[in-house]
């Protein structure tokens, strides 16, 4: 019987240490997965556009890039008619505010739409708009 007993006095301590070891490994694993998952620029491929002043008539907007494609093409439409366009390069994890000429607020009764295309894929397009 005594031969079968494996370092009897320290067994509980061994088991406790093993449990702590497992929990620490598990904790590190989960924390690292979570940190990676919540990192906006790691293994992500998306981007966003938004107005800098959502509650005013101002049209300045920002493009924020979390995708690998750094080329952006933008155009401004007034009631579906293109009035301005431009392109810019934005590194992954960065954002940029395109320079808009002349038009800074929306003329009365018009709907101004800002369309942005990422890269060469025309389907990779998003838009925001404001009415007046």
């Amino acid at each position: 019987m005594s031969k079968k007993i494996f370092f009897k006095n320290n067994q509980s301590n061994f088991l406790i240490s093993f449990i702590i070891f497992l929990l620490i490994i598990s904790s590190f694993w989960l924390f690292s997965v979570s940190n990676r998952a919540l990192n906006l620029n790691k293994n992500t491929n998306w981007w966003s556009i938004y107005f800098t002043h959502p509650q005013t008539n101002g049209l300045s907007f920002i493009i924020e890039n979390h995708s690998n494609d750094t080329q952006f093409y933008w155009k401004i439409l007034a009631n579906q008619k293109k009035i301005q366009e431009g392109s810019l390069e934005i590194k992954k994890g960065s954002k940029a505010k395109p320079k808009i000429k002349d038009l800074v607020t929306i003329p009365q009764g018009e709907k101004i739409t800002i369309q942005v295309i990422n890269g060469n894929n025309k389907n990779n397009q998003e838009e925001i708009y404001k009415n007046n």
Binding site: K8, L22, L40, I49, I128, N131
Partner: protein
């Protein structure tokens, strides 16, 4: 990378200081260095007791209007621990003679140690692997719970929950205090890791409970297999962790913990009166009972459903035990009196009652939630489970072997052994509550009750499986010699392999499905990014409405704003707006689904909603044709409209 490692170290240290330390010193003050509980038990129970101690310290602070901060929480547990250390230093501990059997209960053979480690490794690996695909903050319940915990970290007071009875204070205190001390973000893995640890400790509590009751190591190891490894993902295991079913996870630790202490308090009832009186002098029965009462109060402060179930099981246990031992009822009462009417027991009971009714009363008592849990079932989901439902709830293999185990337990029943009464009552009461709640006038979701069955059924499955292939075992634990069975060894071996294969395939299949899940965290990150945009641009009087149907992780949005549990407003699941029993609030539906209609316009006026957060794929066309809405943010999965 370094910051990430540092934050994890801080989290582990906070867990040890706030949760483990007070529990450990409480056990030291009560038992000293006595071998009456093994180091493994001390380790497991320190966490359970620590969670309860932290709660009680917070209640005390709340009553005395002291702020609950990282430093006051730490001071609280340090004062408590020093007091316990002081008691340990000055107290003389009765020398307890631990029997040979008891002394060797935690001495395992090499093979057994290997098996236990293998099982523990499997449990942690399966659960962690599953949780990696769900670790980002998306679960609805987790979002609700973390809001209250985060609120505590900001207000440094206990939350009032706006009178909602479904949130219970014990679910949030430890999490909030760990967050304050470790500075861990609620958006990190820390809530999931905390629940995983609690879940594992609950499983280990079942392991030691089985070992103590049956004094059989193989049986305890099998319980670890049936509860921890098999069906490791399905509810109430890893799925409850990822889903943030905080109360259930804590309840499934605290309830077996309380049962363990009750068992240890009354384990000597089977001795003759003279031996019992002698044993009771040197044993710690009254200390165990005091701890049992303390754990029971802790459970009542943590989860109402588990507490409700606990009461039913305990009542059944008392009735069953007294009925079976009716002939010796006087002798039994005299023995029980020697344990119950003692200073530590009465003091703990009075202290618990004082806290419960005068220092801090749980919300569900104030709001009479008990009344809503009693009565005829109000929904079809509360009318009871079928055997098929039960099979999918606890697992086919566990149910089948559990029934065999129950029958074998009843055959080999030791009527004076309260452990046998505990396991029987635990199983039978849960079976009745989940299969036919009408009998008991219970109005609770049957499936939720059914999930609790996996705990006692794991012990019984272990008993069933072990007894089937080791027939001598039954005769060794039973007083009835008629249980000697002569079965050919070859038949036993073939049956053993067949049943083991069935158990493993059946029990591991849910884990295998879980590993196939691919995880895409991007929609959740996009929701959070849109939330940050709103936080940066909102004015004090702006009101936000978001959609719950098509946004990922939307219940976590409120953690960005911290402007109230119901901020932002939410368009619920569509089915919730069609309730034939009572009129429902409709504005949240109208304002997103038909924003141009007169009903919606009235709602906008009434609620002053001016920002709407939706998925553009489903909910942008209706806004586009209206001239009083601007689309101000868009990331392809989440878009924000501003109403002028």
């Amino acid at each position: 990378m370094q910051a990430s490692i540092l934050s994890q170290i801080l989290f582990i240290l906070s867990l040890l200081l706030l949760v483990f330390m007070p529990g450990y010193f409480l056990l030291l003050a009560i038992f000293g260095k006595n071998k009456i509980i093994s180091p493994l038990e001390k380790f497991i129970f320190s966490f359970g007791l620590g969670i309860i101690i932290v709660d009680f310290i917070a209640f005390f602070y709340n009553k005395t209007h002291l702020p609950i901060t990282a430093s006051t929480s730490l001071i609280g547990v340090f004062i408590f621990s020093f007091l316990c250390l002081g008691i340990f230093k000055i107290k003389s501990f009765p020398k307890n003679k631990v029997s040979f059997l008891e002394n060797n209960l935690f001495s395992f053979s090499k093979n057994q140690i290997f098996l236990i480690c293998l099982l523990l490794l499997s449990i942690v690996f399966i659960k962690t692997a599953y949780l990696t695909s769900t670790v980002t903050p998306t679960a609805t319940d987790m979002g609700h719970h973390m809001y209250w915990a985060k609120l505590m970290t900001q207000t440094h007071q206990l939350p009032a929950y706006n009178g909602m009875p479904d949130f219970i204070i014990g679910e949030h205190i430890a999490i909030a205090e760990i967050a304050m001390l470790s500075k861990a973000s609620f958006f990190s893995a820390f809530p999931v890791v905390f629940l995983l640890i609690v879940n594992l400790l609950g499983i280990l509590t079942m392991f030691v409970l089985t070992l103590r009751i049956f004094k059989k190591k193989s049986l305890a190891i099998l319980t670890l297999l049936f509860l921890g490894v098999l069906f490791a993902v399905s509810s109430p295991q890893a799925k409850f962790i990822s889903g943030g079913v905080v109360g259930n996870i804590l309840g499934n630790f605290l309830m077996p913990l309380a049962f363990y202490f009750y068992w240890r308090a009354f384990e000597h009832l089977d001795l003759s009166s003279t031996k019992f009186s002698e044993k009771i002098k040197s044993s710690y029965s009254k200390s165990f009972l005091a701890l049992a009462i303390f754990s029971t109060f802790g459970l009542f402060y943590t989860h109402h459903l588990t507490s409700f179930i606990f009461l039913f099981i305990t009542l059944t246990l008392i009735v069953l035990f007294l009925l079976i031992n009716f002939r010796e009822i006087r002798e039994l009462f005299s023995k029980i009196k020697q344990i119950v009417f003692t200073l530590p027991v009465i003091l703990t009971f009075l202290l618990g009652l004082t806290f419960f009714f005068f220092i801090f009363t749980p919300n569900y008592i104030k709001n009479e939630a008990v009344k809503t849990a009693v009565g005829a079932p109000s929904k079809s989901t509360r009318g009871g489970l079928t055997i098929n439902n039960l099979k999918s709830s606890v697992g086919e293999a566990r149910l089948a072997l559990g029934f065999i185990g129950l029958i074998l337990l009843l055959i080999s029943y030791k009527r004076k052994n309260i452990g046998y009464a505990l396991i029987s009552s635990w199983t039978i009461m849960l079976l009745v509550m989940s299969l036919d709640p009408n009998i008991l006038f219970i109005n609770l979701p049957s499936n939720r009750i059914g999930n609790y069955l996996s705990y006692p059924l794991s012990i019984l499955s272990a008993l069933g499986f072990y007894s089937l292939f080791n027939p001598n075992f039954l005769s060794s634990i039973s007083t009835k010699n008629s249980l000697q069975l002569n079965i050919p060894k070859k038949l036993i071996s073939i049956s053993f392999l067949t049943i083991l294969t069935f158990i493993l395939i059946n029990g591991l299949s849910d884990s295998a499905h879980a590993f196939k899940q691919s995880s895409n965290f991007t929609p959740t990150i996009k929701t959070f990014d849109a939330s940050k945009y709103l936080v940066d641009h909102l004015k004090n009087n702006d009101i936000v409405l978001k959609d719950h149907n098509y946004l990922s992780g939307d219940t976590w949005i409120k953690l960005f704003f911290m402007k109230g549990y119901r901020y932002p407003q939410s368009r619920s699941y569509f089915k919730r707006y069609h309730d034939p029993t009572k009129p429902r609030e409709m504005c949240t539906l109208y304002m997103i689904s038909n924003p141009g209609k007169p009903d919606a316009q009235k709602c906008f006026q009434k609620t002053k909603t001016d920002y709407l957060m939706v998925n553009p794929y489903y909910d942008s066309a209706q806004f586009k044709k209206l001239t009083n809405f601007d689309q101000v943010y868009n990331n392809g999965t989440v878009t924000i409209f501003h109403k002028k």
